[in-house]
């Protein structure tokens, strides 16, 4: 099949970007989307042009590196699928595809389809962990965890940190990402001692990074390649409200809540 691609090209963060048109010819339906892009890039290099920069690594849908908008949908049209796992058999001859980077103030463009998602690391760093210094753990079976809790924790822990939720949200909110980690750890007995501090610290960092607020639109859930459920956001809100009411002392001074600034969509 033959396709027309309109791709966002931007040299670096400071220069202005623009859409450019490319042709992808003789596309094999068994190719993955990124393999189709590889072929386009090989041709660009041979013609002496700069290839399109896009992020990828494992190409198995688990590392979370890849992702861009295909015709306005994060990771493209197939539900529960990262762009590296999307195959060309879902497209048809003559399709015109518009490829754009994740767009959010908190995710500045580095080049073409590559954005900086360092804000996600900083949200985890603020409190997305259980403090358990190496060597301090009791026997693994000393603390039974009900299977249903472990399963629900695993559902939330499946997040790959790709950023599609932010890209899809009209507010560029990172609530699904943050809520997933708060839920994963908060559902487990090991996570209880730091539960309040975690919610306060992570939400504060989230605001500091200029992500927008959640207004329950649900686009995030719809595009999430790991199908993380929007209920993690309610869990985050509940933990946060409870902690803000009862446990403000759990927060270190340097992590005090910041008011949401003008953030969100770029």
């Amino acid at each position: 099949m033959n396709l027309i691609l309109h791709v966002w090209r931007q040299k670096n963060a400071s220069e202005k970007g623009r859409m450019e048109r490319y042709e992808a010819n003789d596309v094999n339906p068994d190719m993955s989307f990124l393999e189709m892009m590889d072929v386009v890039n090989e041709n660009l290099i041979t013609q002496g042009s700069e290839p399109i920069a896009f992020e990828h690594d494992c190409r198995e849908g688990i590392c979370g590196s890849c992702g861009f908008m295909i015709n306005g949908i994060a990771h493209g049209p197939q539900r529960g699928t990262t762009v590296c796992q999307l195959h060309m058999r879902h497209f048809k001859d003559g399709d015109e595809l518009y490829l754009e980077p994740w767009r959010a103030r908190a995710f500045p463009v580095i080049k073409d389809l590559v954005v900086d998602r360092g804000a996600f690391d900083r949200i985890i760093s603020a409190g997305g962990y259980i403090t358990a210094h190496t060597g301090s753990a009791p026997d693994a079976n000393a603390l039974p965890v009900p299977k249903t809790d472990a399963d629900r924790a695993m559902d939330a822990a499946a997040c790959i940190g790709c950023g599609a939720c932010v890209a899809a949200c009209p507010n560029a909110s990172a609530a699904l990402f943050t809520g997933a980690k708060i839920s994963h750890l908060g559902l487990l007995p090991q996570g209880q001692p730091e539960r309040s501090r975690r919610a306060l610290a992570m939400v504060a960092q989230y605001n500091r990074e200029l992500f927008g607020s959640c207004t329950n639109i649900g686009e995030c859930e719809a595009v999430c390649p790991k199908e993380i459920r929007i209920e993690v956001i309610s869990r985050m809100n509940r933990d946060y409200l409870k902690a803000a009411w009862k446990d403000r002392s759990a927060l270190r001074d340097d992590q005090a809540e910041t008011e949401p600034k003008a953030g969100g969509r770029r």
Binding site: N12, E50, N141, A153
Partner: protein, 637 residues
């Protein structure tokens, strides 16, 4: 170059205890005065950086990905072994040790393996405490499954995403240390060379992948945890970015490279579908617990699998290995698949595939049980191939998956360059000539959480290190080397893309240094690689500049290193005149086609010393002693 393995003397059960007691300690108040570099942020590097940060060292951690959470450990599916014996089915530390030494075909160091088995139980404790959501029974206790070649259920798992969950545990511990100011993280930064001053590793030269800026980092010790080199084959189950540059550059600076030809071919991957193929996808070998592997009895049988009656199918693993059946170790299963395809009985369009059939399991257990066990893997298979494995048997074929070889390290995980430590898949230490399933995660975390914290302290406390700074001639010289090399790559402006060279190298490696090897083929491959390398530096086309994000330039440097490593792998495979584990030399096999080891001549680790470009490397041997598990021909019949 002398190889001193520093294995403690005396009974193996107490070796690690004794070694730890004999190691010197760094005073808690002094730890912050030491700077440590960790390259790589996977299970080994991430856990090392987090733990060293907790102990109080000043840690700098580097990864080429945009976040440490994306290291390729994340893609491990099946599970992690530990000798917990929670299932009361006969497991013990000794049995895990025994299985690993035997599974490695008697080419690993006993003391290292014993330590690994001992530490395995602490890893599970540590990960559970961090909140890793392992699978559980209804009573709330941990669930286990048997996995790849083990007759006990000792594998802990988190659905089909065990690597992801273990890595997120280590990553979160690492980020906690970033927040505490003990670890400084350098994402999108690639180590391009090692700096050795007065015979000791004292730092690295790195390149920012965003700005292209070359930087020097001074340290008291350098830890490499940069994973394996399976991408030398171009097509492998490794992530696209996985590369050998860090360990290869260290090798060129004096670190011996051990057993480079020991590579693992994983039996259950999705077959290649076309020339454009960019990587191969693994289907967890846990599938072999319930799936039955077969091919048509008769060569050239092109009927669809449902049309082939039971008595015209050959369940060749069950037939050849009745006691282990479909669960034989990876090397054995891979070779058996190749054998039936060579006989013309392979399936699918290319004839390079075998069936993995769940029909019987679905009949016996019901579809919902299979769905619960493997649902995500079945979905992934369908996404890639368009076939529904609940109805049509999966097609699988072996693919490069893991490299047992790596930089030589002693019992304390230090390479032949003092102050340079190597952890995880990047070293050679624990798996011999073949790794058992669910043991890579175990080794990565063992090295990072529980070994390096002791052995690094011992090195720092026992050696007085002179002060060096980045302006010293040693650092300047390496920086110049790095810059010259980048300029050279960009200045060729030839006609062929980096990927086309990489693909060609991969084809040579797969054809002559893959699942089976012979002397003639290896000699041919060595010549072909030399020619390709010569053409590379004359005809490669690397577009763009060095001053910004340039993925082609990144790839070009890595492929240049693969072009050197590939030759060393063939040299190693050629010199080892025996078959063992993943290294199968066609000249050395038993009558029924099993690997034929030669313990009298090859019971050693082959550690190669770099002698300069286009000069033959020098072989050093570390003899292996087996005082506990006595070498025997591996039999899974």
């Amino acid at each position: 170059m002398a190889l001193d393995s520093r294995v403690p003397s005396g009974p193996i059960e107490q070796a690690w205890d004794r070694a730890r007691f004999e190691m010197k300690l760094v005073n808690p108040a002094n730890k912050r005065k030491y700077n440590v570099i960790v390259v790589g942020s996977g299970l080994a590097g991430g856990s090392a950086a987090a733990t060293l940060g907790e102990l109080g060292y000043n840690v700098k951690c580097f990864c080429f990905q945009d976040s440490p959470r994306r290291a390729h450990s994340i893609a491990a599916q099946g599970g992690i072994n530990a000798a917990k014996n929670y299932q009361n089915d006969g497991d013990s530390i000794y049995r895990l040790f025994y299985d690993t030494v035997k599974g490695g075909d008697f080419r690993s160091r006993e003391a290292n393996v014993y330590r690994l088995a001992q530490i395995s139980v602490h890893i599970i404790d540590q990960c559970v405490a961090q909140g890793v959501p392992f699978a559980r029974e209804y009573g709330g206790f941990l669930a286990n499954r048997s996995f790849g070649g083990a007759q006990v259920s000792r594998t802990f798992y988190a659905r089909g995403q065990t690597g992801q969950q273990l890595l997120l545990g280590a990553y979160q511990a690492l980020e906690a240390q970033v927040d505490a100011g003990r670890v400084k993280m350098f994402p999108r930064t690639e180590m391009l060379d090692l700096v050795v001053i007065d015979g000791r590793a004292r730092g690295i030269v790195s390149r920012s992948l965003v700005t292209g800026k070359i930087e020097t980092h001074v340290a008291d010790a350098v830890i490499l945890a940069t994973g394996g080199y399976g991408n030398v084959f171009y097509l492998s189950t490794n992530a696209k970015g996985s590369n050998c540059t860090a360990i290869w550059r260290a090798h060129r600076r004096g670190a011996a490279f051990a057993n480079p030809c020991f590579t693992q071919i994983h039996p259950t991957c999705i077959p290649v579908s076309g020339e454009y193929q960019s990587k191969l996808t693994l289907m967890s070998e846990s599938l072999r617990n319930d799936g039955r592997i077969w091919v048509p009895r008769d060569p050239g049988d092109k009927r669809s699998p449902s049309q082939i009656p039971e008595n015209e199918r050959d369940y060749y693993l069950e037939r050849r290995y009745p006691s282990f059946g479909n669960l034989v170790p990876r090397d054995v299963a891979s070779r058996a698949a190749k054998a039936v395809c060579d006989e013309g009985r392979g399936v699918g369009e290319t004839g390079l595939g075998v069936y993995l059939d769940f029909g019987d399991a679905i009949k016996r257990l019901g579809r919902h049980v299979i769905e619960e066990r493997y649902g995500n893997l079945f979905e992934m298979y369908e996404r890639i191939t368009g076939d529904n494995p609940y109805v049509t048997p999966m097609r699988i074929f072996p693919a490069i998956h893991y490299t047992m070889g790596g930089l030589w390290v002693d019992y304390q995980l230090m390479s032949t360059i003092p102050g340079l430590f190597v952890l995880g898949e990047a070293n050679f230490s624990d798996h011999g000539a073949n790794r058992l399933g669910a043991s890579a995660l175990m080794q990565g975390l063992s090295d990072g959480y529980f070994v390096i914290p002791y052995t690094l302290g011992n090195y720092l406390a026992s050696n007085k290190l002179d002060k060096v700074d980045a302006a010293s001639p040693g650092f300047q010289a390496v920086t110049t080397d790095v810059e010259d090399r980048l300029k050279r790559l960009l200045s060729v402006r030839g006609k062929r893309t980096v990927a086309s060279f990489h693909r060609e190298l991969g084809r040579i490696m797969w054809d002559y240094c893959g699942m089976s090897r012979n002397a003639e083929g290896l000699e041919h491959a060595i010549g072909a690689i030399r020619n390709l390398r010569e053409e590379y530096w004359r005809n490669v086309n690397v577009p763009g500049s060095e001053g910004d994000l340039n993925q082609q330039l990144e790839s070009a440097g890595r492929v240049a290193d693969f072009l050197e490593l590939g030759e060393l792998m063939c040299i190693d495979a050629l010199h080892r005149n025996e078959s063992c584990g993943g290294h199968f030399r066609e000249e050395f096999q038993t009558e029924d086609g099993e690997a034929l080891r030669d313990d009298a001549h090859y019971q050693y680790v082959a550690a190669w010393e770099y002698k300069g470009p286009n000069t033959s490397p020098e072989l050093h041997r570390e003899p292996l002693e087996f005082n506990y598990v006595h070498p025997a021909q591996r039999s899974y019949k």
